[in-house]
Amino acid sequence: MTAYDGPEQLEAQFAQWRQYVLRRRELQAVDADELEDHLRGSVDELVAAGLSPDEAFLVAVKRMGSLDDISREFAREHSERLWKQLVLTGDAGSPAAGTRSRRDLWVMFGCAAGAVVSVKAPALFGLTFDDDGSFYARNATLFALPWLAAFLAWRRQARPVVIAVLVALFALGAVAANAYPLADDSQSVVVSSVHLPIALWLVVGLAYVADDWRSSRRRMDFIRFTGEWFIYFVLMALGGGVLAAFLFNTFAAIGIVPEAFVSQWLLPCGAAAAVVVAGWLVEAKQSVVENIAPVLTRLFTPLFTAALLAFLVAVVWTSHGIEVEREALILFDLLLVVVLGLLLYSLSARDPLAPPGPFDKLQLALVVSALAIDVLVLLEITGRITDEYGGTPNRAAALGENVILLVNLAWSAWLLLTFIRRRTSFAALERWQTGYLPVYAAWAWIVVLVFPPLFSYA
């Protein structure tokens, strides 16, 4: 027995034991308090019976039985603890975090309200959804995304320079959407309306990474954010659809048809607010809930790989060339986007230090088969693009996207291959993907800003 073998060491042992207890999700701090009191009672009694504190502690812990058994019993009574719940106003146990997340909540409400007002503000100037549909279609993302960016910039405490850049980019987007003399039925309007959201979403990304925009890790966080945001938004849209359906049908049952209310107020305002709320939810839940996007990619990567391989086999087997219809290029662009999404969200959830495994090989197979299909499509198309349809904004944009995605996926495939053969680290792949984000942004801005004059507002 040393001189240290006294109360201090006993306290240290209690503290260590408490750490073990708190590591279990089924046991919370109050349970740890209660069990610790029990343990102390047991130790006191054993010491009174003549054991040394050290021995008493060992015996008492042994008597208490394994923590596995205890937490299993606790889990049966407190099964809700195995389900992580969203606490709207933060952890009650830590007042600092609580104030912070309450403030978040209020700022979120403010931004969501701002988005709602933005959607309805043009109506004050006589622009209605029915008569000026194309105005709303062109500007749809300009109503809500600046508010989401504002919320994120506030959360990241963005510097004035970043805020100025954000404001300038949104203003640029507004100009691009409204300044060009585009006819409502022109191709350029459609192409712009598709690309402006992409450009603006990456501006939101700039707000997201405002605290450290060069960092590859932060950009990867933004990719994760995008996936989760999309899933929350879709879930809210489903909920909103159910709400609208009930509202419509119940009121219709008593002879009031709330069509105007639903289409003019509920849907646009709800969608605008949902954009901000989804962003807030992802921020609030990021440590509470397992990310869903990677789970979905795990499920669908094998299925997509099988589908693409089957398609390739079918092409070779029937030696039937791919019919390049008007929309085919866009279809195959979307295919590449899906493959890229599957790749990105698997990357985002992967432990960067883990060695290459079978799933990485599966991904390589997926990417390579997508590339093979795309090359076939491109071969079919190059002959025709010049003579048959000529250069239209649609075609140029689709072709540009195809090239961008092809380059990304080809280099990704190469990096995956070298990673599987252990020639390079996983970080290279991650850096490639996060470094590529500005390319998408640049292309989207080019299409929005340069294409309309380039194709003489066709």
Binding site: D33, D37, G41, S42, G65, R72, F74, E77
Partner: protein, 121 residues
């Protein structure tokens, strides 16, 4: 001899409520008391006692309060409520029936009074 686990579990609620009916108490003392009452034959674990106490608390049969004891130590005391007393009375009636029936069989050795008509049925 150790009492079977199922029997321990079945008797746990009336046992704890009965002990708390004597006065408010806390986990460790309740366990000691059970040990004492059963001469060490009832094998109670912490994994049985504390979740049970929490369940009784959720059902509002007991109410809990944290009280500080020596130094910084805090202890969670449990007190039986009126609802808990009612539950205890109900459980006691059930146990009396079971125990009474078992006693009837084992100790009183009362002659079997089977109705011959029922016996045929």
């Amino acid at each position: 001899m150790k009492v079977a686990k199922d029997l321990v579990a079945a008797s746990a609620t009336p046992m704890v409520l009965g002990i708390l009916a004597e006065g408010e108490s806390y986990g460790y003392a309740i366990l000691r008391r059970i040990n004492e009452l059963s001469g060490g034959e009832l094998d109670w674990t912490e994994g049985l006692l504390y979740p049970l106490l929490h369940r009784l608390e959720r059902l509002a049969y007991v109410e809990a309060s944290w009280q500080s004891v020596v130094g910084e130590r805090k202890r969670k005391y449990y007190r039986i409520t009126d609802k808990g007393l009612a539950e205890l009375a109900e459980q006691r009636r059930q146990w009396d029936t079971v125990v009474g029936a078992l006693k009837e069989i084992w100790h009183d050795r009362a002659p079997l009074t089977v109705n011959p008509l029922e016996g045929l049925a």
